[in-house]
Each structure stands twice: as C-alpha cells, then as structure tokens.
Symmetry: C2
Subunit: 201 residues, 2 copies
DNA sequence: CACATAGTAGCACAACTGTGCTATAAAAGC
DNA sequence: GCTTTTATAGCACAGTTGTGCTACTATGTG
C-alpha cells in the first residue's frame, strides 16, 4: 500500500533512520536490514529508494551537511559583527540535541571516509565549506576593524576551524567535561583573544 | 613450530597488523580473518594471543596511546620553556608517517568508541591524558612568566586541546590543505598569541 | 475499464563473520 | 627421556550481510 509522500522527504526519513542506527549501534551496524527495520520498512522497500547501501550511506552523510548549511543560511546578522560571527560558529558545534546528533553521525562517517573514496569526497567538500565559514567569521571581525589589520585570515580560519572540530569531537566523546557551556566559553574566549591580538606575523 | 619471541612483542605485532588493515580497508574490515592474514598467521594462531576480537581491537587502540606516551616521555626539556612546550605539542599531531598512522587509527576508533563501552573507556582515558599534556604546555609558559598571570589554565588547555585534535583530523582528512608545515604554523602562532595575550578573563 | 507505474514485501544465494573446538609440532622444565 | 606448556593450524557452525530477483498492491493515466 503505497504511501503518497514526496520521495525526497521519504529518502530523508530513511537517512534519519541511518542516523538513529549509527548513534545507537555504530556505523558498522548500519546494514540495509537494520536501517530498514529501524524505519519500519522491508529491505526490498528500502532498496526502492536507494539502489545500494553505499548510496544510502552517502545520502545520510550529505544530509549532515545540508542540515548545518540550512541553519547557517537562516542566521540573521546582528548589529554587532562579533555577535554575528559568534552565532555563525555556534551553529557548527553540538550545542543541542540536533547538532549533537549531527556531530555524532559526522564523527562516525569521518572514521570511515578515510578508506571510502565516495565518502571521502563528500567529507572534503563539507570540510571546505566549514573552513569557508570560519574564514567568513574571521573576515567579519576584520572588516569591522575589530581585529589587527595584518592578521592572516587563512591561518586564523585554519586555527578556528581546528577549534570547532576539536570541540565537536570532545563534546561528543566527553560530554561531562565538555558541556555546551564549555563550548561557548571556548569560542567566546577565542574571539576575545582574536580581537585583542597584537601584530604577530 | 613455535617462534621463541616475547609474547608482548608478538601482541604488538598483531596490533600493528590491525593498524595496517584499518588504514588500508577501514575498521569495518578489521576482522579476525583479515588481521590474521595481514600478519601472516592463521585465525587459530591469532586467537592464541587474543581470545576475542574485542580484546584485539582494544589492545590495538591502547597501543596508539602507548606510542604517543613514549614519545612524550622521551622529550628532553629545552632551555626555553616555549621551545619545550612546542616540542611537547608537536609529538601529538601527525607530522610524520608514524604520527600520521596513529592519527588515522585513532580517528577510526574514535568513530566506533561512541557505541562501544570498552573502547569508549580507553578513549576517555587517553583523551584526559592529552588534555593533561595541553595543560602542561600552558603551565610551562605560565610558570615562566611568558603569559599573563590571570590566564585560565583549564580554559586554555581546552582550547589548545581542541586545536590539536582538530588539526589532527584535518591533516588526516585533507593532507594537501593541512600539511605538516601548516600544523606547526598553527601551533606556533597559537603559542605566540598566548604569550602576547592581554588580560581577558 | 485497461494499463502502466510506484511502492512494498519477501526469498535466495553466495560471501563473510566470530568463536568453539580439536589436532599437532616445537620448545621448556625436570 | 618424559611431560607440560606454548605456538600454530584448521574445521565447523550459526549468524549476518549486500544484492539480484520475483510478486503483489495500490495509485495514477488513458
């Protein structure tokens, strides 16, 4: 009995079932059978939407990027560039359950993307987008003159990006030691030091 | 025909076979069979050293920590505390093939440690050691008066730790964009800003 | 109504997995 | 020299996996 639903919406539902399985049992257990069961579907049904497991997993992986991208796009700039930059960065770290889910799934895929060319390509594209967002945040401060003029934007973007991804991993792996308040504190402190930094290079 | 070798050395060899398989084919493919084949051993033989697959993988995981720990212990303090701190931090990022191998394996395990209690425990212990090393590096500068006195050591350690782990992930996933020179540059720059940072707490 | 299509289900098969079990050869201990 | 231990090998079995394939059902189209 076909359910009349937008096929893309259905694919997203399946991808979310992948997320659920990954978060509960790990990427290793994200088999076609387990995902289908999680989604309340048969194997054959699932394969009507995704011809192969690789396709399913890649889609689930890309969904992480799309969700974050949508959040970033929805940001409304504040009067203060510093405030805008902070909001932007906070969308990219696991501060609530939604972002936490993304971070966990992303981390699981990252470990595997090392040896899977398709997943690696997706990973690199999103990595570059993330780096671009960091560069944007730095540029926001720079353009507002809140930061020394001789500052190396690319280098600062690399440092900021490392902080974001490092914080995400730490928040996921050690939630008691790195709670959301700690994440925001580190980011805020880092922006403080950026604004206060003297000439250095 | 038993080979007369130190059993612990043999276990380390098997663990390195695990590393090789993980780096080439991924953690998912680190089956007892594949690891045994990689080590040139039979399944039964391998299981003489590791009763279960879980034991094998946990040992391989802990070996990452031991290798890094040994390198850190072997550091000879320089005259300049800043130099010492920099050397310490550089032992914990993938600057050469050895550290790169550790980083890749560690990343693969990290993704899975989320859902495996035993692996998670190992991960958290090493995470805390790493954080301690970062705190040590910050304290080195602080004790030498190279850094403002009111600096929050724990917060700075968290930030530095995030940078190290973030850089490691980036170096592994995007080696062209984050080569060793970039890693050292970011670390050096970060220490520069630490030393130059004004009061901000 | 007839017919094509999209959605769902299930089977079959070959491949791979972890582990329990037994067997055998070499070394160590005495 | 005899025995115990260590190291190696291999088989068997039940379970899981990805995917090719067929079949059924409801919806849409003419």
């Amino acid at each position: 009995m076909p359910r009349i639903v937008d096929p893309e919406r259905r694919r997203a539902e399946l991808a979310e079932a992948v997320w659920t399985v990954i978060r509960r049992d790990g990427l290793q257990r994200a088999s076609v059978r387990n995902v289908a069961r999680e989604a309340g579907l048969s194997m054959g049904s699932l394969r009507h939407y995704f011809a192969t497991q690789a396709e399913l997993l890649c889609f689930a992986m890309q969904l992480v990027g799309e969700r974050a991208r949508a959040r970033v796009r929805a940001i409304e700039p504040a009067d203060d560039p510093r405030e805008t930059a902070e909001r932007l960065l906070q969308e990219l770290v696991p501060l609530d359950e939604e972002r936490r889910a993304e971070a966990e799934v992303w981390l699981a895929f990252t470990g595997h993307a090392l040896v899977d060319p398709d997943q690696r390509a997706i990973h690199q594209r999103i990595h570059d987008e993330l780096n671009g967002a960091c560069a944007t945040a730095v540029a926001l401060l720079a353009d507002a003159g809140l930061v020394p003029g001789n500052l190396d934007v690319a280098l600062e973007a690399a440092r900021l990006h490392a902080i974001l991804d490092g914080l995400a991993v730490h928040a996921v792996m050690r939630p008691e030691r790195v709670p959301p308040s700690r994440i925001t504190a580190v980011i805020a402190h880092h922006l403080d030091t950026l604004q206060a930094s003297p000439t250095s290079g």
